[in-house]
């Protein structure tokens, strides 16, 4: 087994790291305090090909493999989780779904736009359909050449910035998740009846634009059906696999960023005549976080390798996401503790990281959903099918 990154991957990682250290790091604090997505930074990211990283070059993307893409997400997340999440939702959930099942016309029409700076969003969750997306209520009915969508989508990340939405609606309510269809919805005309609502004020990830979207007879041209009618659920499942791997990488980056801050503080802060790094309690925190980060990194790389070699990887993606969210949480929490009183101050970045990573145990499937998915996979192997 060769555990080293290839020359090309190392080269890309260097590019990602430069961008993250020189550009992403500069916007992190402000986008949190002003609650503004870093729009200028996203344009720079697009110019470097980071908004279409895994899209094929023929559609304007960089054609990166899953593993290289995790390096991109990781490096950005070290400095700004909001930016990492914005890009991940845009690519792994939305653009890649169009690549996954779109017609050639849809791919030609949308993917180059999404690779070059226009943002996309993924609207699945509803007020009454969170962990149970199969119970969603947004309906789509067809009349001649148009679908009409009715319902409400909540917690739509990038909702206020996106020009393109991948929206899931029911075309057969009685069939629950087997009656879901996916649609590509463009903001503004021709999508009359689609209203982007207020921003959701959040505990963290304040640089992510999260909205409620209202559909009242929302017009969607029939050619914007994405994939086959009533075949939306498999699109969701494949999107979840992709995004879970990316969210794991985001958790890894955030944990690494937090650990670096804690290590620096422990070396610089003196109490009892010595740097607090000399105290066993502090050493134990640093050690435990380092172990978790190391294990997480390798699980992510292994999962990405499965994806890149065309193997089934959903089970590992759930594991990696679950672990990543926990490691990010544990590291941010312990490193906040290392900072003492400064850890509670807005003047130091660690409390922002602590607030930001809290979201990782919720979005992309809560911890509870990941545990269920992993258990289901394990029992499936011995012949038992479990239900939620």
């Amino acid at each position: 087994m060769d555990f080293s990154l290839t020359e090309e991957q190392l080269m890309f990682r260097g590019l990602f790291r430069d961008f993250a250290e020189n550009d992403v790091a500069k916007v992190a604090e402000h986008s949190d305090k002003a609650e503004q997505p870093p729009v200028e930074l996203l344009k720079k990211a697009a110019a470097q090909g980071f908004l279409g990283a895994t899209l094929p070059e023929q559609y304007g993307g960089a054609g990166l493999e899953a593993l290289t893409n995790t390096l991109l997400v990781e490096e950005i997340a070290k400095h700004c989780l909001s930016t990492a999440i914005t890009i991940t939702i845009h690519t792994a959930l939305a653009s890649m779904s169009i690549l996954d099942v779109g017609t050639e016309a849809q791919k030609q029409s949308y993917l180059p736009r999404l690779a070059s700076g226009e943002l996309a969003s993924f609207a699945l969750t509803e007020p009454d359909a969170g962990s149970d997306p199969g119970s969603l209520q947004t309906r789509a009915r067809r009349e001649n050449g148009t679908f009409y969508l009715d319902g409400v989508k909540s917690w739509v990340a990038n909702g206020g910035l996106a020009s393109v939405f991948v929206v899931f609606a029911s075309t057969d309510l009685s069939a629950r998740h087997r009656g879901l269809s996916a649609f590509i919805v463009e903001k503004g005309s021709p999508s009359v009846g689609v209203v982007v609502g207020h921003r959701e004020p959040t505990l963290g990830l304040r640089g992510v634009d999260i909205r409620t979207i209202y559909f009242e007879d929302g017009h969607v041209p029939a050619e914007n059906l994405l994939g086959a009618l009533n075949e939306g659920w498999p699109i969701v499942l494949r999107a979840f696999n992709r995004v879970r791997l990316c969210l794991a990488a985001a958790g890894l980056g955030a944990a690494e960023g937090a650990l670096a801050l804690g290590v620096k503080f422990a070396v610089e802060r003196k109490q009892f005549g010595v740097p607090i790094a000399e105290k066993q309690a502090i050493q134990n925190y640093i050690a435990d976080c380092s172990v978790e980060i190391e294990a997480l990194r390798h699980l992510i790389h292994y999962t990405a390798w499965l994806a890149d070699t065309g193997q089934s990887y959903g089970q590992q993606a759930s594991m990696a996401k679950y672990l990543g969210a926990r490691v990010a949480r544990d590291t941010a929490n312990k490193m906040l503790q290392v900072h003492g009183g400064y850890g509670f101050s807005d003047e130091f970045p660690i409390s922002r990281i602590y607030r930001d990573v809290r979201a990782l145990r919720l979005l992309g499937g809560t911890d509870e959903i990941q545990r269920y998915a992993v258990a289901r996979g394990v029992f499936d192997e011995v012949g038992l099918k479990i239900q939620p």
Partner: protein, 388 residues
């Protein structure tokens, strides 16, 4: 053994509980957003005797003892941690130091106004270079004639921006250092050279104002020495020891609030066709919360009984603060997870409790210091002396 509260304590709790529901709960969100509590609310609390609740009636207090004071802190923190913290610093440590070691004359001059809430007090121990290492304080008090001149800084002082009176620990004999050569002074805010800084921006407890305080050759008459010259460190450590019990009670209130919110939510929220109360994962979270809260409740009120009975309590007080702060953080975090995305929204009160709770693991002696205190007490019992 009689585990029931006295009729007086039951009546006290009912009165405080009602006040918190009627006056604190409706204002809690605004307190967080505007970073201040309504002075009218503080006046009402003064009229109800909250500010001097534990102190003897002869000294101007309500005579409710440590148990009564724990009941107050539990009920306040259950509804508005910012308000609880104003009282906690004023009563639990600042006024407490005067109550424990002040001369009758000094107590008579200051305690009545502190008990009525007419004047607000702050506890001035921590400095930029002396956090966990409290003995590392450097603020100097130099005797010249009948006055001491205080010079230096205190940091992270709760109530700093609003305090009328500050109990300050200063080094009076540098040759002996803080342990043997520090003295507590009662300092009034109008005295020349005393400059409270701007309120700190913190992740939570927005309504509890905190600041740096600069002492620029502040003249303090020698009549304002609290306790004995040179024994100030002992006074302050003794005060912190007792302060931990009521802080444990406060964290109990926070944990209790998390459980109550969770119970309401799991009944109301359905996914997968049934209330989430039916999910075993959720049930186990609730069971764990309730169990930890029950254990903490017993620990806190037994320790309060130790205090009120004049028995030793230092080890148990450290345990109250340690277990309490970690229990509250765990319970509030579980509650946030139970609420899903709603727990992450600032339009819902849960995230405020999550932000408010974190500091309890850090202030009034970090949990690392608590572990040192507990270990030190344990080892002393077997004849081993340790130093941090």
């Amino acid at each position: 053994m009689d585990f029931t509260f006295s009729p007086e304590h039951i009546a006290l709790r009912r009165m405080i509980h009602e006040f918190c529901e009627e006056e604190l709960r409706p204002r809690a969100r605004q307190v967080d957003r505007e970073s201040r509590q309504d002075p009218q609310v503080l006046r009402w609390m003064g009229e109800l005797g909250f500010f001097g609740l534990p102190f003897s009636q002869e000294d101007g207090g309500a005579g409710a003892g440590e148990t009564g004071y724990c009941i107050l802190m539990e009920e306040l923190n259950r509804v508005c941690p910012s308000t609880a913290t104003i009282i906690g610093a004023h009563t639990g440590i600042a006024s407490m130091s005067l109550y424990l070691d002040g001369s009758p004359d000094l107590k008579q001059r200051y305690l009545p106004d502190l008990c009525s809430g007419k004047k607000i007090a702050a506890f001035g121990l921590t400095e930029p270079n002396a956090g966990s290492d409290a003995a590392g304080i450097q603020l100097r008090a130099t005797l010249e004639g009948d006055s001491y001149y205080l010079d230096g800084q205190k940091m992270w002082i709760t109530n700093g921006p609003i305090a009328d009176v500050i109990m300050v620990l200063a080094v009076t004999d540098p040759a002996l250092g803080a342990r043997g050569g520090a003295t507590v002074f009662v300092v009034e805010k109008e005295w020349d050279g005393l400059r409270p800084g701007k309120p700190e921006h913190k992740m939570g407890l927005h309504g509890s104002p905190t600041s740096l305080i600069t002492f620029d050759e502040v003249r303090v008459p020698k009549e304002n020495v609290l306790g004995q010259v040179g024994l100030g460190f002992v006074t302050f450590m003794k005060t912190l020891d007792i302060g931990r019990v009521s802080l444990g009670a406060a964290t109990l209130g926070g944990a209790q609030a998390a459980l109550e919110a969770s119970l309401r939510w799991v009944k109301a929220r359905s996914q997968f066709g049934r209330p989430i109360a039916n999910m075993q994962s959720i049930q186990f979270m609730l069971a764990d919360m309730a169990t930890e809260i029950e254990a903490l409740r017993s620990l806190v009120y037994r320790t309060a009984w130790l205090v009120d009975s004049g028995k030793p309590f230092i080890k148990e007080a450290g345990m109250c603060k340690l277990m309490g702060s970690e229990t509250a953080s765990r319970c509030i975090d579980r509650a946030l997870q139970i609420h899903g995305a709603l727990g992450y929204s600032r339009d819902f009160p849960l995230e405020r409790g999550w932000r408010d709770a974190r500091i309890a693991e850090i202030f009034e002696g970090t949990n690392e210091i608590q572990r040192i205190v507990i270990a030190s007490e344990l080892l002393q019992e077997i004849g081993v002396r340790i130093r941090p």
